[in-house]
Amino acid sequence: MEDEIKKLKIEYQSTTPPKFLVDSGISDLWNRVDNQKRFIEAHFVQFLALGILILIIMSGFIGVISAQAKPGSTLYFVKKFTQKAVRIISNTQINPIKPTVSPSLSPSETIEEKKGEKDSNLESNQNRNNNHEEVKGVKAFENARNSENKASENSHGKNDNSKNDESQDHSSDGNTNGQNNEGHDQEED
């Protein structure tokens, strides 16, 4: 076995490259190097264009796929994660909340902004007044009803209570009506 390996080794060692290759090998080597360099230089723009095209196609493909992602799916999770990552990287928010700063604390804001803010303040004040008036009206109505109730309390007794119950709880309408009837009966009597 070892003898055979030795013989094979001699055969291996005796292999010689052809003479022409020894002579022209170096020039062939530099030709290859220069040709490869020239090829890359000549096709650089094409390679670049191809790279950009591939990037566009890939981004479009990813966009289409992620648009079809359903909530709960892995793709949806990946999409959300990517969005989050992009948001963190770009340090921007999709729905930025404007900070509410008082006019006195914002010296850099323009007159138009201030004006707009004043107008909006006026509007909100008016709305508040309107609301206040509405509340006032409701209260007046309630007061009037209470006074009416008080008046009828003196005259009807039980009837008054039934009315209050009616206003508090509509589910007990049957009873109160019955009491009302009683009251009326008493009055009639």
């Binding site: 076995m1 055979e4 090998g25 170096i26 290859r32 190097v33």
Partner: protein
């Protein structure tokens, strides 16, 4: 040794003359290795030239301070990778052509005449690629095991184990082939 180091440094700085000197020093070794692995002279020439083109492109990455690393190991690593790539492209093992040494009558007749080299070549072709490379580099190129370990990117200890197993395997295959004849 110092001269070689100087040549490498100059080549790393883009000196073509220095690299040509390195080429002259190692061309024959690389050619033999490629020829034995491909069993095709034209293919061996092409792989050999391509090895040096690749080496020129990546000579700047060559680290002289790396232990058990030499320009020879660097060139053999490139050559081996190219041989494997060609083999993949051809969708057959680089030594597939060895398998053409079929066990016909001529083959056995030459064995009978005491020419067992063909038998060993056939047995070598039946080994795994890494085992074959270990035997070639260790016994034919007479390289240090640490250097071979660097070329094949395995640990020195693992290489010794694999070398031992490869030799056992080769012996068994050879005996099997010879026994089939008898």
């Amino acid at each position: 040794m110092e001269e070689l180091k100087h040549l490498i440094q100059k080549a790393q700085n883009g000196d073509r003359e220095s690299f040509s000197e390195i080429y002259k020093l190692y061309f024959e070794k690389i050619f033999k290795y490629c020829k034995f692995n491909t069993n095709d002279e034209f293919e061996a020439q092409d792989i050999c030239q391509e090895t040096f083109v690749k080496a020129w492109k990546s000579i700047k990455k060559f680290d002289y301070s790396r232990p058990n690393w030499s320009i020879q190991a660097f060139l053999f690593t490139i050559a081996r990778n190219l041989i494997i790539d060609r083999g993949r492209r051809k969708k057959e093992l680089p030594l597939g052509q060895f398998q053409e040494i079929t066990t016909n009558e001529d083959f056995y007749e030459s064995i009978d005449r005491g020419n067992n080299i063909k038998l060993i070549r056939l047995a070598l072709s039946k080994l795994e690629e890494i085992e074959r490379q270990i035997i070639i580099l260790r016994y034919f190129e007479e390289m240090d095991t640490k250097e071979i370990a660097n070329i094949l990117e395995i640990k020195d200890g693992a290489l010794r184990v694999r070398l031992h197993r490869a030799m056992e395997k080769l012996k068994n295959i050879t005996e099997g082939l010879y026994g089939r004849r008898n």
